[in-house]
């Protein structure tokens, strides 16, 4: 099942829906969008290796769903992203305290949660969380563009876009090289990129709309993702 909404609706609002299928879609989307940022924060702030961070991230989302944390989100009190980050901090701190208690009792612990000895400020962690959130939103949007291109028989369009703007991001290939590689005229490369970028932009905004609970939060998040300084 796709995690994406058919229309521009907020799935964050649907987290507290009475409809189980709607709620399940909302949970899928939240987990898809926030799993990577949560893992990144657990690794940086708590010095976990990848496998342990992924296990703990899984526990975090399971715990959040079991305790219905996410459905308690109040849109009037700030961004959903900030709320989730705060839940994660509480969860990790509690897990850390539990780990210490077990350590003092001489038991083995599954996840050795220790605060990073490196100098990691809260601002660093917040920046990392936002950076990975941006990466997640773009990845989800790219997956949706891929599905759209496949459904519309425009695989070549998607491939040209990926070759130029994803794989060739460091040093974008020349249009003439892409034309030769895909066996299309140079003008077609420009047309494909124009089409794909426009659709990709739409998917990013749709994803943001789904991940936010109000118009003002949506605009704030759009500015955070798009509004970078030169």
């Amino acid at each position: 099942m796709s995690v994406f909404p058919e229309t521009r609706v907020s799935l964050v609002v649907a987290l507290s829906s009475d409809d189980p299928s709607m709620r399940a879609r909302a949970v899928d989307l939240v987990v898809s969008a926030y799993r990577a940022p949560v893992v990144a924060v657990l690794r940086r702030q708590w010095s976990l290796d990848l496998a342990d961070a992924e296990d703990l991230a899984h526990d975090f989302f399971a715990h959040a769903l079991e305790r219905e944390w996410l459905s308690r989100y109040d849109r009037t009190r700030g961004r959903f992203r900030t709320f989730l980050r705060s839940c994660l901090q509480d969860f990790a701190t509690t897990a850390h305290e539990a780990a210490n208690r077990l350590k003092r009792g001489g038991h083995l612990i599954a996840v050795p949660l220790e605060e990073s000895t490196a100098t990691v400020t809260e601002a660093d962690v917040d920046r990392l969380f936002e950076q990975e959130w941006v990466r997640s939103v773009l990845t989800l949007s790219l997956e949706r563009l891929s599905a759209q291109c496949a459904a519309a028989g425009r695989q070549a369009t998607y491939d040209v876009f990926v070759a130029h703007d994803v794989e060739g991001a460091d040093d974008p290939p020349r249009y003439s090289d892409l034309a030769a590689r895909f066996g299309i005229p140079v003008t077609q490369v420009a047309n494909y990129l124009h089409w794909a970028r426009g659709r990709f932009r739409g998917h990013v905004l749709d994803t943001l709309r789904a991940l936010t609970a109000s118009d003002s939060e949506f605009r704030d998040e759009a500015r955070a993702l798009l509004g970078r300084e030169p």
Partner: protein
């Protein structure tokens, strides 16, 4: 799907952000970003020249912000003055975002430029800002966000006042061609909503009062003058000008931008400044500085006369 690299993330963000400017404009680098949107360097393929293209960050911005951008374009179009950047074109991009293009100003911001110049040059630049703002006032437009960062010094030394997005416009200008007065006349800021930049905002503007008039710009210009004068030892008359321009109460300020400019010009010319009550000694010193050649000539004449009198007496 493989995780996106940092370079891919940056490129995709740029792909999402970059306006779809259609056939006419080729978009180049991002020049800056503000509360309303972004400004790009663009090439107008029809007229074959570079322009600055201002566009909203997303087409889904609130109607207020979209209207504010359109209003800013109308305000700029109505103000034809060498100190106000000229607008070339306005419309809606292929992706639905409103935009306008204006002259691409190549130069430096006033706050950057002023670090390289002496006090006299800075004051003359300041007078250029006053000239543009005074013209806008005469056309019924109050800028409301004057600060050194919103002034550019062009490559020929011309002073250009930018960023008219929160300007307050006389109702007849805002509603021109629209049939009825528009709420946009107040920059889409209702009563109680403060617009501007802290440190440059008049008290009545900070409180969101409805009765903001040209004296709010006088306050901002006074704050700008204080910034331009910096931490160096400021002569008392200039200090008095700043003090009067930034008076807490609007009625305590210069009534117009021209009156403020006139005092600054008077100081540059060595004339009396209306905001400062001189002592007789200061007046004499100023007279000497302004007429030093005449005073020295007179002194020389008197010395010679005295010498002749003394010689005859001997």
């Amino acid at each position: 799907m493989k995780p996106l690299t940092d370079a891919a993330v940056a490129r995709l963000r740029d792909a999402v952000d970059r306006p779809d400017a259609g056939e006419r404009y080729e978009i180049h680098e991002l020049l800056g970003r503000g509360g309303m949107g972004a400004v790009y360097r663009a090439t107008d393929r029809v007229l074959r020249r570079d322009v600055a293209l201002k566009v909203l960050t997303t087409e889904l911005e609130s109607g207020d912000i979209a209207r504010r951008l359109e209003r800013e374009a109308r305000v700029l179009a109505s103000l034809e003055h060498p100190g106000i950047v000229a607008i070339h074109d306005a419309g809606t991009l292929g992706d639905g975002r409103p935009f306008y293009t204006m002259r691409l100003v190549r130069g430096r911001r006033l706050d950057e430029q002023s670090k390289r110049e002496g006090r006299g040059e800075r004051l003359r630049r300041f007078l250029g800002v006053c000239d543009a703002v005074s013209f806008a006032h005469s056309a019924g437009v109050i800028h409301r966000d004057l600060k050194p960062a919103n002034v550019m010094i062009g490559e020929f030394g011309e002073v250009l006042v930018l960023d008219w997005g929160v300007a307050k416009v006389a109702a007849e200008l805002a509603s021109a061609g629209q049939g009825a007065p528009s709420p946009a006349a107040d920059g889409d800021t209702g009563p109680g909503v403060a617009v501007g930049t802290p440190g440059f905002m008049a008290p009545e503007q900070s409180s969101g009062a409805e009765s903001v008039d040209g004296r709010a710009d006088v306050f901002a210009l006074g704050a700008m003058l204080r910034t331009l004068l910096g931490t160096e030892k400021v002569p008392p008359p200039l200090r008095a000008i700043v003090f009067r321009a930034t008076a807490e109460s609007a009625s305590g300020r210069y009534p117009t931008v021209d009156a403020l400019a006139s005092d600054v010009r008077a100081w540059l010319d060595g004339a009396a400044v209306s905001a400062y009550a001189e002592s007789p000694w200061e007046r004499a010193l100023r007279f000497y500085r302004r007429n030093s050649a005449l005073v020295l000539l007179l002194l020389a004449y008197l010395t010679v006369r005295l010498f002749i009198l003394w010689w005859r007496g001997v």
